[in-house]
């Protein structure tokens, strides 16, 4: 009991001294302080910066799958639900004023909202209210950057042309159906999620193009690889038609 009381008292004293001490001792208020040495050192830093030899920035992007349905493609809805969210890091090695090499290490969440209709081969037995395929990818990308003008410590205007290799860490198939509650234990909706799908590939590769003005970037991705494998468990053992390959979006670097 005594030990507990001592502990509480010590805590209270520490807490109060933390609050009151600055008011008593540090009664001055520092409004502005500058270490000019650090500022001048920064002036001379040549190695790291938007237009220096090395640069690293965060990247956050969002893109939409273009519902361009060719003969061999599984139709996706043309709303915002077929999209990709990207975030990660971007690294740059400047070669000269106009050219640089870059590398991205990013996570991408990729979603395809499947149009429900007669051609839905993913689950032909049933027309769902909603059906969706989602992929969680870890990607490594490389690109060549072409800058258009001499500039200061600034990213400027540029085009990136490159490729990305994606490892699909996880994939999910979702369906959502409205049902009669009287036949489903009072449930109005049934959501089914399937994972570890044996009809999707683990590796994807993309071509990437970006046009950036400083930190705002318009991006385009084209998937060269197929998403689906042939599986005896779906579509009578025949490989599914491919999902749309092209997406456009925006990115910001920070």
């Amino acid at each position: 009991m005594k030990i507990r009381l001592l502990l509480y008292t010590s805590c209270a004293v520490l807490f109060l001294s933390g609050i009151c001490a600055p008011a008593v001792i540090h009664s001055q208020t520092t409004l502005l302080q500058r270490d000019v040495r650090k500022q001048m050192e920064r002036n001379q830093q040549d190695d790291f910066g938007p237009n220096s030899k090395f640069f690293q920035s965060g990247v956050l992007g969002f893109s939409w799958t273009m519902p361009i349905n060719t003969n061999d493609s599984l139709e996706v809805t043309n709303d915002i639900n077929s999209n990709q969210l990207v975030f990660g890091n971007r690294y740059k090695l400047k070669l000269n004023e106009y050219f640089a090499l870059g590398m991205d290490i990013v996570y991408m969440r990729q979603g395809f909202s499947i149009r429900q209709g007669n051609t839905n081969l993913l689950s032909p037995e049933h027309i769902h209210k909603k059906q969706r395929l989602a992929f969680h990818n870890l990607a490594v990308g490389g690109h060549v950057r072409i800058n258009f003008q001499k500039r200061g410590d600034y990213l400027g205007s540029y085009v990136d042309l490159g490729a990305e290799l994606h490892w699909v860490m996880a994939e999910r198939h979702f369906t959502l159906d409205k049902v009669d509650p009287s036949q489903h234990q009072g449930a109005e909706k049934i959501r089914i999620q399937s994972s570890h799908l044996d009809f999707t590939r683990d590796i994807q590769h993309y071509a990437v193009a970006r046009f950036g003005v400083n930190t705002i970037i318009a991006s385009a991705r084209y998937r060269f690889s197929d998403i689906f494998n042939a599986s005896e468990n779906i579509n009578n053992g025949m490989k599914l038609p491919e999902l749309p390959r092209f997406s456009i979006g925006v990115e910001i670097v920070f």
Binding site: L32, R34, V36, M40, G49, Q149, Y154, A209, Y222
Partner: protein, 559 residues
Amino acid sequence: MHILFCLALLLFSTVSLIGQSNYWVFLKDKDGVTFDPLTYFDAKAIERRIREGLPLHDITDYPVREDYVQQVAQYCDSIRSTSRWFNAIAVKATPAQIAQINTMPFVVRTQPMQHTLQLAEAKRPPQHSERKLSAMEYATLYGQTERMGFSLLRERGYTGKGVRIAVFDAGFPLVDKHPSFEHIVRNNRIVDTYNFVNNSKNVFRSNNHGTHVLSCIAGMLDSIPMGCATDAEFLLAKTENAYVEIRTEEDHWIQSLEWADKMGADIINSSLGYTVQFYFRKDMDGQTSIITRAANTAFSKGILVVNSAGNEGAGRWEIIGAPADSDSVLTIGGINPSHGYHTRFSSYGPSASYKKKPNLVAFSQTVTALGHNQGTSFSSPLVAGFAACIRQMHPEWTVRQLFDELEKSGELYPYFDYAHGHGVPQASYFIYGKSLSDTAMFKMHWNAQDKTVELHHLGDSTTWKSFAIDKENWHENRCYHLPLEYCYWQLIDEAHRIVYYELVEPGEKLIARITNKDCDNCTLRIYYKQYFYERPWMELLNELSAQPTPSDTISPLSH
């Protein structure tokens, strides 16, 4: 599909890459060119040259050789302009054309042209008839000139009369119609205008940034001056195209400088700067940027160039831009009227070559003819107007004298830091002279435990002046803080460079706590209540630590 995509990529890249750029083509000589200064220059430009002791026949004023211009024109898409001072031609050309131009025997070199980024935002103008100032706005309006002691100048008739000020900006809409400028327009004191963007005389359209700026030089609102130079003459130049993003080509700015020189400008106000988009921080050394060099040339011809420090203080860039990095430019930072010290967005000095920047400061939040606005773009014209009054008072001073005396009039002088320069210029300096206090209002003691020097009040502690304002009697109130109540201290290294500085609001007992910041060989400087103190740190430390009773009162040390 794959091929289509690749083609689209290729097209995308190619279209982006191909295109013309603007370049400077620097020429070798001006051999054979004739020049008559008496017909070329305005009478005031000649007066200025005589005052400065400059020759009327200066090769930098001679025009560019016409035959060179014609030859260059054959190899580029178009000629944009020429520069007498730089003996250069501004051209629009492709890289291939520039490669050809570089082979011409009379071409010294070529250089890609930069763009200018203007530093302040302008807001949409309200209708003047609807304008009702709040008490706070009245306080700001009064303070923006009175903080410099303008009434002392005005009472004595120093309102910039006879001084010619050139203002470079993005446009001056409503200046020809607005009642705030009626006293200028009625008396034909807009001597000339030029729109360097459109090659016309009309500057009274487009972006209203220049109208805000001109207000801070010479505008009147309800008979209250918004700037100090209400009786000055003006040259208005539109140098910026500000519709989408506020950018212009630097040749407009240089053309404007040469035009202002020709037209007899005594003072130029320019509220723009180059920063991160075109330069690295190390380039802000007072000689790299071409507009910095142009500003240096203008100074050498007797023109006082007043430029805003920039609004990068809170951003990644942080420091002044070009041409504010020039040591010939009077660089003006901003203070916040409500607390009287550095406003957070005002760019910091020094230049990359450790030159003192900014030189002075003024209000960065101002009331203008079209509303109110903030940015160092509006600090600069306040000082430009003030400088015009001093020029009127001392027409015999060279531009260097004027520059130096303006610095000395700063309320903190001889104290200086890279946020406040020498402080706000004070008219009282020119009327009564500088009055530094002989008595320190603090005592010092060494705190051995914290290893700090503490400054304690001597006598009454600080009393703040009220910020409240009575709108009916606004002119009776002190509506802003003077810097006297703050304590400024800094450490100077052996090369006389400031390595660290602080601004402190004193508490009831303690004014400031000072540490040596790993600089034992530094000299400590303190400015507090008009008392300037300077002492080598080690010397001070030895003396203070030798005191037998450190907590007792210690007499202030002499400076």
